[in-house]
């Protein structure tokens, strides 16, 4: 790791100004649970860190009014236990509480979570730093170098949204829940404020897998907003891992439904652990909307989400697992109707 200047920004304006002044080698740091980890792995190499975790007001959690508004530096732990989130939006609370550990949730922010980078082991282990094993090709880390996961140990790689250049999974749980809830990301930069629908926030790898987010250098995530909906109550984040807790998803589903008796009036379904971006499963939604929800129909919806799946050598299990995760999540969510 090379020498580093470390400064705190007291306001969003100051952060953006400091970033511009540092000229290219700066990065923001919030909790640091991802960027510091990646610095130790030799993947992120900033010369200047601008700490945004003390920016006044950027930790606000506002739940009155028509939208839920989470400040970019609000802690995962604090958002998960905000009463309205806990009681009326289980999909949001569960996506946070099933992520990482209680220690990490006390450090990590909901803004930083959106921008965390993949856990693909070839991406993480390949930089040849003193604490990692070996040197591997990775188009995300070294654009144009190749991808060691293709034909490699690909058990945890994506089956949806992949390309010839990259199969790395989008790691976050919270972004999957936000994708189901049609959240908006508010960013602030030298040009002012932009509001980006979450559906436009994540970029498919294509042949530029190093470009992951629709955000410009120096832009600060100031807030995440979710329009309030009664579907929030009838929702769940269902996550299957290699162990019961403290692991990234093998497959997960964020589901929120509105029911008329046994019939599904509206459905929002998004997938995690199986795709290169937080993955909205519209095909699955179309299967259930307007019909009464049975276990058979729920599984049919799950399978519909994977018709375009392209598994590799060791991850074909994710297709059936993912379908069943959707099916179970639909049943769990529907049972939460009051």
């Amino acid at each position: 790791m090379r020498g580093l200047n470390y400064t705190f920004a007291e306001t969003a304006d100051a952060a953006v100004t400091q970033f511009a002044e540092a000229g290219g080698s700066a990065r923001y740091i919030a909790g640091g649970t991802n960027i510091y980890d990646l610095m130790k792995l030799g993947i992120e190499r900033p010369a200047h860190l601008i700490d945004v975790s003390r920016i006044e007001g950027l930790d606000a959690i506002e739940t009155d009014g028509d939208v839920l508004r989470f400040g970019g530096r609000a802690l995962m732990a604090d958002v998960a236990r905000a009463p309205v989130v806990r009681d009326e939006y289980p999909v949001l609370a569960e996506s946070l509480l099933k992520a990482a550990s209680q220690q990490l949730r006390n450090m990590a922010t909901v803004g930083g979570n959106l921008l965390q980078r993949t856990r693909c082991m070839y991406f993480r282990n390949g930089a040849g730093s003193s604490t990692t094993v070996g040197v591997y090709l990775c188009n995300k880390r070294e654009p144009g170098s190749g991808c060691a996961a293709l034909g490699g140990l690909d058990r945890t790689q994506a089956v949806l949204g992949t390309s010839e250049a990259c199969t790395a999974v989008a790691p976050g749980d919270w972004p999957v829940a936000l994708a189901a809830m049609d959240a908006t990301i508010e960013v602030f930069g030298p040009e002012g404020t932009r509001n980006i629908p979450i559906a436009d926030f994540y970029l498919l790898p294509g042949d530029t897998p190093h470009r992951e987010f629709n955000i410009n250098p120096g832009e600060l995530v100031t807030a995440i907003t979710v329009r309030k909906t009664p579907a929030g109550r009838t929702s769940t984040y269902h996550k299957i891992r290699d162990r019961e807790s403290y692991a990234f998803a093998l497959a997960s589903a964020a589901v929120a439904v509105e029911m008329d008796g046994d019939a599904v009036r509206t459905a929002r379904i998004a997938l995690g652990g199986v795709a290169t971006t937080p993955w909205r499963a519209s095909a699955a939604e179309r299967v259930v909307v307007g019909s009464s929800l049975t276990p058979e129909l729920a599984l049919e919806a799950g399978h519909a989400a994977f018709t375009e799946a392209r598994p590799g050598q060791h991850n074909a299990f994710k297709v059936e697992l993912g379908a069943r995760v959707i099916a179970d999540a639909l049943i769990i969510a529907a049972q939460r109707r009051v």
Binding site: G3, G31, A100, S101, M107
Partner: protein, 206 residues
């Protein structure tokens, strides 16, 4: 959140003067709890070799003022500069929980907490739990229940376990397991750890 019983000022035999001695880069030996008599193993801090940040914070109730390398973790600051070696380094990547300390009363992984971040804040380490010779009820419960084998994960386990009880999460075995899932034990002492937390939940007021 209050951090009951974790912030007593007198446990480690540290005086304001010895801490200031460390900040001047003289020696770190006297920060070690005297009872452990571990001075011989204590690393003498070398000069930092990158751009530094000047920070001032409290460790176990004592003020520390020190220049830290911008790259340093809280874990390395505690262990290598302040000789508080009770906090352990397992993975250095947030994956094991051995390095758990309390920051303003909340558990965090000190390996992924940049040292510069603790300026103006309060840190409690395993050395700050006992009151003099009287162990914290959670430490006693770990002994009573054989909640360790090699002991390497234990300081981190205990720091999380204290928070598990003070945050009201020690309600049933499932809740304890979920709360404690960020602390890995290679020796598999989980049965004893669970029993210790259940016992301490009764004896700790809080």
């Amino acid at each position: 959140m209050t951090d009951h019983g974790c912030n007593n000022e007198t446990s480690s035999g540290v005086t304001r003067r010895t801490v200031l001695g460390v900040s001047a880069g003289v020696t770190a030996a006297s920060l070690v709890p005297l009872r452990l008599d571990a001075q011989e193993q204590v690393p003498v801090p070398g000069p930092e070799n990158g751009p530094t940040t000047h920070i001032s914070f409290q460790v176990n109730g004592e003020r520390v003022t020190i220049d830290v390398d911008g790259r340093a973790s809280l874990l390395d600051l505690l262990r290598e500069r302040l000789a508080l070696t009770g906090t352990k380094k397992g993975c250095d990547h947030g994956q094991c929980g051995a390095c758990t300390v309390h920051l303003d009363g909340r558990p965090v992984s000190s390996c992924l907490t940049m040292a510069a971040k603790v300026d103006g804040r309060q840190v409690t380490t395993i050395e700050g739990l006992a009151r003099g010779d009287e162990l914290h009820p959670m430490q006693q419960a770990f002994i009573d229940n054989d909640a360790l084998q090699c002991g390497y994960c234990t300081p981190g386990q205990i720091m999380s376990a204290v928070a598990c009880v003070t945050q009201g999460q020690a309600t049933d075995p499932g809740a304890i397991r979920e709360f404690m899932s960020g602390n890995i034990c290679r020796c598999g002492a989980y049965v004893g750890i669970l029993a210790a937390i259940a016992q301490a939940a009764e004896t700790m007021e809080g």
